[in-house]
């Protein structure tokens, strides 16, 4: 049983902002770009400390991606930041040609991903971005689960040579990972040991997976919770090793069912170790306005949905 301290909540985007402040001090090559969303991306402090290392792009995301690609020529490490919807789908071809195909060391920092941004509604709630970005050859895709992990992932992204998609969000969310954690890209983090079912979760859904594991434990079911913070490259060994033990798995993500973490894990397991699977994700629909918790409930992304999915895969073993 893992205890979550619900009194300690911070937004993951602030973890990004804190990571950038740290990088501002430690890595002079790191520069930041933003498309008129400095406050939302929590870049104020970085800009205050290093005004010459920040480029305001205005509401022109396509240009921002191209400029980020150009900044790498001569050794800068640009973090191009905006809302996830405008950082991916809106500028997909710019990312594809100028960044991915060109092998540029650009970091795309995307906030307000998924349903949890809430009231702004479906125009802003991108649920396809993990799929879009993991399809691009050579791209690393990271979706950290809390403030501390987002800060650590931001620093790790800067130290990684190659394009990175860093996905985080708006709401205040429980902080439960260690402050001084070592973040290794592509290395899954086993949060709890279990023997009956594996739960692979990413981003905001990790805490829901922990809640689900606690509820399952009360029902006498032992769940192994694994935090897949890096969707690409996926930690195949960790996934296979866990499922060899448990014999079934549930995935949980704040993303479409098609193309995200669930698809990636299903592909690995179909090839390597087929077992009953269930996918807690958005079922091929757009979101809508509402509070974070209302939306997670309506679209089936609560701990109870993970519990239900776990019981279902166990029964299919």
């Amino acid at each position: 049983m893992i205890k979550i301290d619900y009194s300690n909540q911070k937004d993951t985007r602030s973890g990004f902002g804190a990571g950038m402040v740290e990088l501002g001090k430690t890595n002079p090559d790191v520069v930041a770009l933003c498309a008129d969303l400095i406050g939302s991306l929590k870049l104020d402090k970085f800009i205050e400390n290093h005004p010459e290392r920040f480029f305001q792009c205005g509401i022109a995301e396509a240009n921002m991606i191209g400029i980020a690609a150009g900044l790498t020529i001569g050794g800068k490490i640009p973090f191009a930041s905006t809302f996830a919807n405008f950082a991916t789908g809106r500028v997909y071809d710019q990312i594809r040609q100028s960044v991915a195909y060109s092998g540029k060391n650009v970091k795309i920092a995307a906030s307000h991903a998924g349903l949890t941004l809430g009231e702004d509604g479906a125009t802003h709630q991108i649920l396809e971005d993990i799929g879009l970005m993991q399809m691009l050859p050579g791209f690393t895709v990271i979706n950290p689960c809390d403030y501390n992990q987002t800060k650590a992932a931001t620093i790790a992204a800067a130290n990684h040579q190659g394009p990175v998609y860093l996905r985080f969000g708006r709401p205040k969310w429980p902080v439960f990972t260690p402050e001084d954690q070592e973040f290794v890209i592509g290395k899954a983090w086993k949060i709890s040991e279990g023997k009956d079912v594996s739960i692979f979760a990413t981003g905001h859904m990790v805490v829901k997976a922990i809640e689900a594991a606690n509820q399952l434990e009360e029902q006498g079911i032992s769940a192994e919770v694994i935090n897949i913070h890096t969707i690409k490259p996926l930690d195949r060994e960790a996934v296979i090793e866990s499922v060899r033990k448990t014999g079934c798995a549930v995935t949980a993500e704040e993303h479409q069912r098609l193309g995200g973490l669930g698809s990636a894990i299903a592909q690995v397991l179909a090839e390597e170790h087929p077992v009953p699977l269930s996918f807690v994700a958005v079922q091929d629909s757009f979101g809508e306005s509402g509070t974070t918790e209302q939306l997670l409930t309506k679209y089936g992304l609560q701990a109870s949905n993970i519990v239900e999915a776990a019981r279902s895969v166990i029964s299919r073993k």
Binding site: R53, I73, S98
Partner: protein, 281 residues
């Protein structure tokens, strides 16, 4: 002092290369390539400080970005002829396993290319980014970029135009190839550009015009003029008038040869008009 006659002789050979590259694979874009031959030769053989000993970061040298990547035949020829890679490699243009992709790419590590282009409208943004890094690194060399006039249809160009003026990117010289043609026909028919000069001036650029970008002396004068305008708080734009298909009489001034390769007979007819000055590959 530039040896204009020698530069013109190089142009003749580059034009032969363009015809032979596109003929051999029966694809590619000869029209715009022929029209921009003087521009590429002027940049690589006279104007830019650059090293064929290629490094991606290009510190301490001038950089060039081709935004309208489909005119790759002229760029490949000029890169090879100025020592970036063996001239014989031009024979691999658009072939399987070649470094000379249909549109320029870094993926196969062809020396001289710093970003992929082909999907239009992206190169100016990349050039601006590289120019910003030069400023951050205290490198006072310049960044050049080339764009098609049809490419001005893309919205990203105007996002970049606004950014460059706002951030005073004054170590950038961009050129638009005003040949008045795009795939579907004359630009005025496909998508009227209106007053191009007034547009760039309204976006805050220092704009000069080169009335005949196929006249080497005139073009060198424009490039020299552009250089004197850098470092003064504004990005510099050269509106360069050229004739698509220049140098081959039956290809000149029409959009027909935008993306069509010459057949055997047309190749011979074209080569007969272009002196072999440096030796064919």
């Amino acid at each position: 002092m530039a040896d204009i006659q020698q530069l013109e002789r190089i142009c003749s050979q580059v034009r032969r290369d363009i015809i032979r590259e596109t003929h051999a694979c029966q694809s590619g874009h000869p029209g715009g390539s022929l029209g921009c031959t003087e521009f590429f030769v002027a940049l690589y053989f006279e104007v830019m400080q650059h090293s064929p000993d290629f490094s991606m970061d290009g510190q301490g040298e001038d950089l060039f970005f081709l935004s309208n990547g489909h005119i790759s035949p002229v760029w490949y020829s000029v890169l090879a002829r100025s020592g970036y890679f063996p001239v014989s490699e031009l024979a691999t243009f658009r072939r399987l396993d070649s470094r000379l992709q249909g549109h320029p790419a870094t993926h196969e590590h062809l020396p001289g290319i710093r970003v992929a282009s082909g999907s239009l409208g992206q190169g100016m943004s990349v050039a601006i980014g590289a120019a910003l890094t030069k400023k951050l690194n205290g490198d006072d060399h310049l960044v050049y970029s080339l764009h098609g006039d049809g490419e001005l249809d893309e919205g990203q160009i105007w996002e970049a135009a606004m950014f460059a003026a706002h951030h005073k990117v004054d170590n950038l010289i961009s050129t638009v190839d005003l040949n008045g043609q795009q795939i579907d026909g004359p630009t005025e028919k496909v998508m009227s550009l209106g007053n191009v000069r007034a547009k760039w001036e309204a976006f805050g650029w220092d704009v000069i015009e080169c009335a005949d970008g196929n006249n080497m002396a005139q073009l060198l004068a424009s490039l020299a003029d552009a250089k004197t305008r850098t470092g003064k708080g504004k990005p510099v734009m050269i509106l360069m008038h050229t004739a698509m298909g220049k140098g081959v009489d039956f290809m000149e001034g029409t959009h027909h040869w935008h993306g069509v390769a010459p057949n055997d007979e047309q190749k011979e007819k074209a080569l007969a008009q272009l002196e072999e000055t440096l030796g064919d590959y």
